[in-house]
């Protein structure tokens, strides 16, 4: 392990991940509040944040369980929302080629929207596998441990946080922060617009199936727009 570990890069990763934690706090609290109000025990809430380690999946899982949706629908919805990790994994993979499997397995576990963004920036700047991996682990471990604290705090403080604060709005805000930077070209904007209209139009579908359907319609629209732009 030591031959791949760079203490300086690890600490730089920790340092650079600290400011974004402020933005993650309301989102983590909302995830904890959601688990509490959906009737989860404190261990179930911890399981959600520790093993899923994805705010979007945690929120959807608690909403669907609270609404009495079948377990299979809950799992499918969370899985489809998590498909973006496939894309992150693909983008990250070339940079991790020289690493031992244990490093890659650990880094995969810590792969989130924020850690991906920070890690890819570092890989592009330094183009150094050893540096980038330690940097990613530093930021990823800080994010994972802080996320557990935020979610637990939300679970405990669930009844105390006034409804007038509208803390649940932290969820769309977090995703706006992730969404806007990916809308870089025409086809991705077409995909987003189509998904946005579709999710409202399909709102009457039960068990939030509108989310999966709108997502798939949006992806299809993006692919069609891309094909039209570059005819082969």
């Amino acid at each position: 392990m030591s031959s791949f570990y760079s203490r300086a890069a690890f600490l730089a990763g920790v340092r650079d991940m600290t400011p974004p934690l402020i933005g993650m706090l309301p989102f983590g609290l909302v995830c904890g509040v959601g688990a509490q109000s959906a009737g989860a025990s404190v261990w179930e809430s911890f399981g959600l944040s520790a093993l899923m380690f994805s705010g979007a999946a945690q929120i959807l899982a608690t909403q669907l369980v609270a609404a009495g949706a079948p377990v299979a629908v809950t799992i499918l919805t969370c899985f489809i929302v998590g498909l973006r990790f496939l894309m992150y994994s693909a983008a990250m993979a070339p940079h991790l080629k020289g690493l031992p499997p244990a490093w890659r397995n650990a880094m995969a576990f810590l792969l989130t929207d924020q850690a991906f963004a920070a890690g890819m920036r570092r890989f592009r700047e330094k183009n150094d596998t050893r540096d980038g991996a330690s940097y990613f682990l530093g930021g990823g471990l800080l994010l994972w441990s802080t996320w557990q604290v935020f979610c637990l705090a939300g679970f405990v403080a669930g009844n105390v946080i006034p409804a007038a604060w509208s803390l649940e709005f932290a969820v769309p805000l977090c995703f706006i922060g992730l969404l806007v930077p990916v809308l870089r070209d025409g086809p991705t904007r077409v995909a987003a617009l189509t998904a946005g209209f579709a999710v409202v139009a399909l709102d009457a579908l039960p068990m939030r199936l509108s989310l999966i359907c709108a997502g798939l319609v949006g992806i299809a629209a993006g692919m069609i727009a891309e094909t039209r732009r570059r005819p082969r």
Binding site: P19, P20, G23, P26, G39, E44, G47, L48, L51, M52, A57, A61, V65, T74, C78, F79, I80, V81, G82, L83, R84, L86, M87, Y88, S89, A90, M92, A93, P94, P101, R104, N105, A108, F109, L111, Q114, S166, F169, P172, L173, I176, G177, L179, V180, P181, V182, L183, T188, A191, A192, A195, G196, V199, V200, D203, L211, G215, G218, I219, E226
Partner: protein
């Protein structure tokens, strides 16, 4: 199904599926190239799925009722947050300014709405 079994089924299965998604290409890249059709589709997953999560949380003011007017504080805050996310590319600024805008807009709507 008892609630504990339902919770842990969801936690373990989604946890495992999420981990496999995260590990997928990192683990197999050495042996398998990503099929072009798959990477073409995956490119649109964040744009489509994130929008599908954001839009209902912004435009619905009650179950089944949408509001696209500026008297909807969530819409105002989302528009401001979108502009700030584009301008500053910072999740933290987007989050903090978005919440503050929401509170201001709620207050104004209560005063004059």
């Amino acid at each position: 199904m008892s609630s504990a079994i339902a919770w842990w089924t969801v936690i373990v299965v989604v946890g495992a599926l999420n981990y496999l998604s995260r590990l997928s290409f990192i683990a197999i890249f050495a042996r398998i190239e990503i099929p072009p059709s798959v990477s073409r589709a995956l490119r649109f997953v964040p744009a489509a799925m994130l929008t599908a999560i954001v839009v209902p949380a912004v435009v619905f003011i009650a179950p089944g009722t949408t509001s696209l007017s500026l008297t909807n504080p969530k819409l105002v805050a989302a528009l401001v947050a979108t502009f700030l996310a584009w301008r500053f590319k910072s999740a933290t600024i987007t989050m903090v300014a978005g919440m503050v805008t929401l509170w201001l807009a709620q207050w104004l709507v209560r005063l004059y709405g």
